[in-house]
Symmetry: C2
Subunit: 596 residues, 2 copies
């Protein structure tokens, strides 16, 4: 796949949608949302992660990147300084050369970092009682222009979701560590978002090349495509060549937080030989990535040497890439993990840029047989210890979770995480509820994801149909995102989130009234819904039909329901009239006579 | 679509699979199963619903039908007699003529019915202490050639699943009404199966034409295709022309139970005018279908006149086709449902053929807003009353359930059904856990189906991606079946069914050992898994690769896990040697010197 200078990405609004902006009260901010026009009712406002790509008024130029609009806030705080960037080396791009070297992003920015002794994380500000523009921004975003409280209908399992989110509520949640706003000071293109149990359940999409396939253009488009369909964050899990350059193109063009697993790039720098990793190479990689603007790092610092033998009897061993890499290093050197031993120094780096931690679950179960075993929970408890350390350093933290877990063991995962991890947000991969359906693991895992989201998990990492089989392509990315958006929404509904029901009710009203276009446009994937309908009923006139090809005109239950309601109305009218006749003691008395 | 005399259907075994048969002990029976050959282990035996179509030794001729092998059992009982069939009328085929009339099935059989005063249902036999060949057959089937008990690991919520199913256990479950074997005496081609909370969770696939699309050939192939992928029963929900003739082709060629909703055909007979329905027409339709061999009838006898106003405030009214039809009739005539009033006579017909009841949920919720409302549960309680009446008449009964239900309301459905319906098996449609994803409703509903299966639902009626949008085609049927098979299996796992884990563990072992073909072949859809893998790594040599394109050779966590285990082994060997050295007090002592 030839990398050209300016990749093309998918732009344009979703059907019947326009980009609107809601202004802040405390700060000079404009928060984007999506308004879906309906034919039978007022428009519906929904959360919108798709960035400027769906704004017809935005001028998109991938080679320039998105507007670095957050820069003003960052400088206004007065606690950061510009710095000379760490020079990019050939190792950063896996020693790719010539035609194999992806083009460098055309614009170079000088990175920011915290001034000496200053804490520039959202957690530090929150603890200091400061409501940042980012906090107000996410408060407005979460409310989706909702003004009134809905009647609650759900089982929140101890979550505490307010009717309307205020900036102060956001500050409290962040100060308590129950929520994070991943927002590296070097990612000023970001549209901030919040991850926490008391907010909408979020979805992450994974992109990134491997040694076998994909490149810069495809990955930038995958990011734009993923957020178009609703991904709230994107992780760049590239493991092939050009990791540095590809990442720069992605971050400069991403309105959503970007996460990475730095040990991948570190491994590439040592030619793929895990034993040759060193703390110094890893540290250097952290700085390289923090300067580029990575918003959260997955660090498998909870996987300690003594836990490795606990995996000996597992059916699928260690299935986490990062986990297996650090485990191999530990065992070879017979030393404690350098990630664990140097964790405080990692915190010092993260806090200088406000990179959030996603404390990795290197020992997550990769099969039903391994679920909830000793290794998994030993690591989880260590992640709890590390959470405390990180927070002492003002670092924002979320905790990663499984994996493959049968339904009856899912609740225990949430309970253990709440017990040991000081209310840090939980961020799970599924979990998959059975191993027997490769090709359909977006579905085996949507079941577990919806359930664990209901129980309190704050963000769900998607799984695509390609899981276990190969690198996902663009179609797989979309399928994974839509699947996880519906699972996250099912969780919000079950938790009684006051903003969730509006969309289900609007769509069901449209369905019942045969407003086909409205039904499609309110769905998570209007294009697919419309195409499926049109397979058998393609003519425009069919969009006014009071049936579809499932049942045809005589058997449509919704059509018949309307007939029933009309009949009931007619009879009610007759009953009232019959009532009047009986009072007068005659079969029929004309209305005029009544007045006599 | 032109109907030819002999439709072609998909035949041939699934990959690496052969058809095996297990003999009975009490009766002369041979129970088919599927054995999957593996390269690294003994073969795995799994349940097999696909019938003779996957048996290379079977000669398939759709125009002759499957062998009517159960006939010997039926006659041996001595309680049935042959009868002249009710003549087929033009109305039975919706007045189709000429080229539009589907061909009649080429072979005519004389139907059986119960001799005067005899009860020929599995329930009657079970109560009389008789273990029928059908009962032994399903006991063998459920065990999947398992001989030893597995350690239990699950949460059965009061289900009572034995380590190994015995014919006596089957008899008890049927006698108690907790399970049914839908097996019309006029369906001798049937391979009997059992539906009950204490057995494997089953899956139903819906097929059938509509006025808008599809015909006989397509529907026969859909049935064969659906059971190939694992559907345990199939419902023919045809609402277009040729309902009688299409159904005959389906039943004569179906090894699985066939269900119908007789009111559809009755409505066709009155030209689609619900008000013109009569008890007589309905009764005649029941006999027509029972003589053909329909194994279970969905009858919406629990939808009573006084319940209809309860739906007035619903967002989506009445979404059941049958429910809306009978509701329209009731309201127009302002009379109680003839299904309810004539229910005992319906039982008399059913018991003469052993047609099981699927008591319909005409008032199921069709939107999240309507879930668990007054109308829904009023009908459920009536279904409980009708269950008692049906059982007094020796009729087998299962209860249909919702629908659209958010996760936090699913458990209540199971509890209410257990409370009111005398332990009859529950048979739900999903439920869908959110309304916002048309095009993906197989997934929104797989979430609810897996959960309600875990809670005790015995059979899950599938939902395809086309739900709400159009009639499913063959691809949709497959997607729906695989999705529901994984949901049913996730439920079995969570319940701790002793036979469930074997397949997950076998597949995960294959995955961990890079036995790619084994991994694909053990999956629910080997073709799709293989094709997805081969999109990026198509060469035969890649099937020996210790990686796939997700991570490539350097980053495959499973490959690295093997390295880790090898290293641990090596170190253990060194440690043992080091231990010996230390005991001897020297850095190195050659082994020979030790013996000195």
């Amino acid at each position: 796949m030839k990398d050209t200078a300016t990749p093309t990405v998918t732009t344009g609004p979703l059907p019947a949608s326009r980009k609107i902006h809601v202004a802040g009260q405390l700060h000079d901010i404009r928060v984007p949302m999506r308004e879906i026009a309906l034919s039978g009712e007022p428009p519906l406002t929904v959360y919108d992660s798709s960035g400027p790509y769906t704004d017809p008024e935005a001028r998109i130029d991938i080679a320039r990147g998105l507007p670095r609009w957050r820069g003003a806030w960052l400088r206004a705080r007065g606690d950061v300084e510009e710095w000379d960037p760490r020079p990019v080396t050939a190792a950063d791009n896996g020693f790719a050369k010539g035609a194999r070297l992806a083009p460098e992003f055309p614009v170079r920015h000088r990175p920011l970092r915290a001034r000496e002794g200053r804490a520039v994380t959202q957690l530090a500000y929150a603890r200091a009682g400061i409501i940042t523009p980012e906090m107000e921004y996410v408060a407005i975003r979460e409310n989706e222009r909702r003004t009134a409280a809905h009647a609650r209908d759900g089982e929140p399992f101890g979550a505490d979701i307010p009717d309307l989110v205020t900036p102060e509520f956001v500050r409290q949640e962040i100060a308590a560590g129950r929520a994070i706003i991943p927002a590296n000071i070097n990612h000023p293109e970001l549209e901030p978002m919040i991850i926490g149990r008391n907010f909408k359940v979020k979805v992450n999409a994974n992109i990134g090349n491997s040694a076998v396939t994909s490149g810069m253009e495809e990955e930038v488009e995958k990011m734009v495509w993923a957020i178009r369909w609703g991904a709230d964050t994107v992780m760049d899990l590239s493991t092939g060549r050009n990791i540095h350059n590809i990442r720069e193109w992605i971050i400069r063009n991403s309105p959503v937080p970007i996460g990475t697993v730095p040990i991948y790039q570190a491994l590439e720098k040592v030619g793929g030989v895990a034993e040759d990793l060193t703390w110094e190479i890893f540290r250097d990689t952290l700085i390289e990535q923090a300067e580029q603007g990575v918003d959260y790092f997955t660090i498998h610092a909870g996987l300690r040497l003594h836990m490795i033998p606990m995996t000996a009897k597992r059916v699928t061993g260690i299935v986490s890439r990062g986990g297996s890499i650090i485990a191999k290093w530990c065992l070879h050197h017979h030393r404690e993990s350098f990630l664990y031993e140097h964790f405080e120094e990692i915190c010092d780096i993260a806090r200088a840029y406000d990179v959030s931690f996603s404390l990795g679950d290197g020992l997550r179960p990769g099969s039903i047989a391994d679920a909830n075993d000793e290794a998994q929970f030993a690591e989880l408890r260590t992640l709890g210890e590390l959470t405390k350390i990180a927070r002492e350093k003002d670092c924002q933290v979320m905790i990663e979770g499984p994996g493959h877990v049968p339904m009856h063991k899912i609740r225990e995962n949430m309970e253990e995480q709440l017990k040991h991890c000081h209310e840090a947000p939980f961020y799970t991969l599924g979990p998959l509820t059975t191993d027997i359906a490769p090709g359909y693991d977006h579905i085996t895992s949507a079941i577990g994801a919806a359930m664990i989201g209901w129980f309190g998990t704050a963000m769900l990492c998607y799984v695509t149909p390609k899981e276990h089989l190969g690198l996902p392509d663009r179609d797989d990315v979309k399928t994974g995102v839509i699947t996880y958006k519906l699972a996250a929404h099912a969780a919000d509904l079950a938790k009684g989130h006051p903003g969730a029901r509006a969309r289900d009710d609007a769509l069901s009203r449209a369905r019942f009234e045969f407003r086909w276009e409205d039904q499609f446009n309110l769905g998570l994937d209007p294009d697919t819904a419309r195409a499926m309908h049109d397979e058998t009923l393609p003519a425009e006139a069919h969009k006014l039909a009071h049936f579809c090809s499932m049942c045809g005109p005589k058997f449509c239950s919704m059509k018949i329901s309307h007939d029933i309601r009309a009949e009931a109305e007619r009879q009610k009218g007759m009953q009232e009239m019959a009532g009047k006749f009986r009072e007068k003691g005659a079969l029929y008395v004309p209305a005029e006579a009544e007045e006599g």
